[in-house]
Amino acid sequence: MGVFSIFPSRASVAAGEVDALYTFLLVVGGAMTAIIFASVFFFAVRYRRKSPNDPAPKAIHGSLPLEIAWTVIPFLVMLVMFAWGTKLYFQNYTPPLHDTLDIYITGKQWMWKVQYPTGQREINELHVPTGSSVKLILASEDVIHSFFVPALRLKHDVVPGSYQTFWFEPKEPGRYHIFCAEYCGTGHSDMGGWMTVMTPADYENWLAGGANGGSMVELGGKLFQQYGCVTCHVTDHEGRCPSLLNVFGRPVVLDDGRTVMADEAYVRESILNPNAKVVKGYKHDIMPVFEGQISEEGLLQLIVYVKSLSPPTASPAKPAASAAKRSSK
């Protein structure tokens, strides 16, 4: 990785795709710049005033065909950029529905706290195996941060009060910078770390290294007990609360007729502010409001637990559809 290499190292499949598009833009932009520079330079020399008394040249007021040409041709070129860029963007920010390795990252001033479903926890370090679809679920405890890995050519703002996700497929083992890209206060430039991409075998070894407190499901399950959620949401027979079995990842009909997807954001909102979106057939104000009582990390554990109540085997499986699509490229 030389200092002057234009392209930073590539850790994922998508990084190469972004670089290809970037190269296309560089070529088009470079050609345009060259045309303008060359014309300005050529005209300036060729038509320079030789003596102060040179007569004023004949006026040329314009040319409609030329104007149309240099409006339409750039427009068409831009359409290519737009279509290409949009397609790649949708691909990189639409995680596959199933078979992702979900990793939960919480930003706070000024560190990244990483939790793995299997219970490992790290600060400012992220370990991922090659060949999998890694989905990052990002949360913030305080201000807006932005999780940025240049080697992935991806970043996402981490906005407090909501979850953001993006995904990637690690390809090249190595260590890559993690930065915070959204200014977040004094230690903004120190809020970085390393992403380590490992082969699946190394990753398994690393995983075996240590999950002290139990997996996220176990931790979430404890919280589920501790906050009393379990009394209603699993075994309730009085019909006060919806059962959470096989709910996650499916559409839910609300009491005002709308339908929402039971995703991380919905579960989060329903814990913190249960009255915001009540499931059809259930009453408001039954469940206590947990706003300000559970830490962001605890919330993520609860969500993983709720997820575990909807095992993927029970879901209408389209196994590894997106992964297959990718590898066929």
């Binding site: 009255n275 408001h284 104000d285 409001v289």
Partner: protein, 223 residues
């Protein structure tokens, strides 16, 4: 028609040196006022934008919270402002007809109505103060479900009606200026551009209220 003579010696006393004639000056003032009102629309537009976002986010909470607005005072104030616009129109008409006494009378009446509005607004704000409905650390709200959302609506309420009230206070100051000018016979020559311009401003402030009243006070009363 405009030569160097016109540059040096404007014939009409109210014509400023850089205009060719009064017609041009009036057109410039009118256009300037309308452009200014456009900026005012954008100014309030920012707050209306925030309102739309949060109303869409929290429709029930907003509807429920709006019951804490004093609809009676709001409605009276709406009437007061509409009536004050009417008296402002009559003031402009009097200025057109060069009726000095009527002009002063209608301006004073408009000013009084503006002050009535502001006084009632004060009563309302005071109520909110007593009820701890001022957003901030001391905010209290009866319905725990909607505490935060109610606070946001009250924030918007105070920001929007507060900005509107500041515009009313400025308008009252302008009316006083007009009354003084009228008393000093500044409008006796048939030139009354300030009356017309401030009239436009007054109507604009009135219209803003016409939007604020239903959006803040009445959204809970739809059924």
């Amino acid at each position: 028609m405009a030569d160097s003579e016109a540059i040096l010696a404007p014939q009409e006393p109210e014509l400023r040196h850089h205009f060719d004639d009064s017609a041009q000056q009036l057109e410039a003032s009118t256009l300037g006022m309308w452009v200014f009102l456009v900026t005012e629309v954008m100014f309030f537009g920012g707050m209306f934008g925030a309102y739309i976002v949060y109303r869409n986010m929290y429709p029930e909470a907003f509807a429920s919270t709006s019951h804490f607005m004093n609809v009676t005072i709001g409605a009276i104030n709406t009437g007061v402002l509409i009536f004050s616009s009417f008296t402002m129109v009559l003031a402009v008409r009097s200025a057109q007809l060069r009726q000095k006494k009527a002009l002063i009378a209608f301006l004073i009446l408009t000013l009084i109505l503006g002050c009535v509005f502001l006084s009632l607004k004060y009563v309302e704000y005071h109520e909110k103060w007593v009820d701890h409905h001022i957003p901030g650390p001391g905010f209290q709200y009866a319905d725990p479900r909607y505490f935060h959302q109610a606070q946001i609506l009250f924030y918007l309420y105070f920001a929007m009606t507060g900005m509107h009230a500041i515009h009313m206070i400025v308008g009252a100051g302008l009316l006083i200026t007009l009354i003084v000018m009228a008393a000093r016979n500044r409008f006796s020559s048939g030139w009354y551009t300030p009356v017309e311009m401030i009239g436009l401003y007054w109507h604009f402030v009135d219209i803003v209220w016409i939007f604020l009243f239903p959006l803040l006070y009445l959204i809970g009363h739809t059924q």
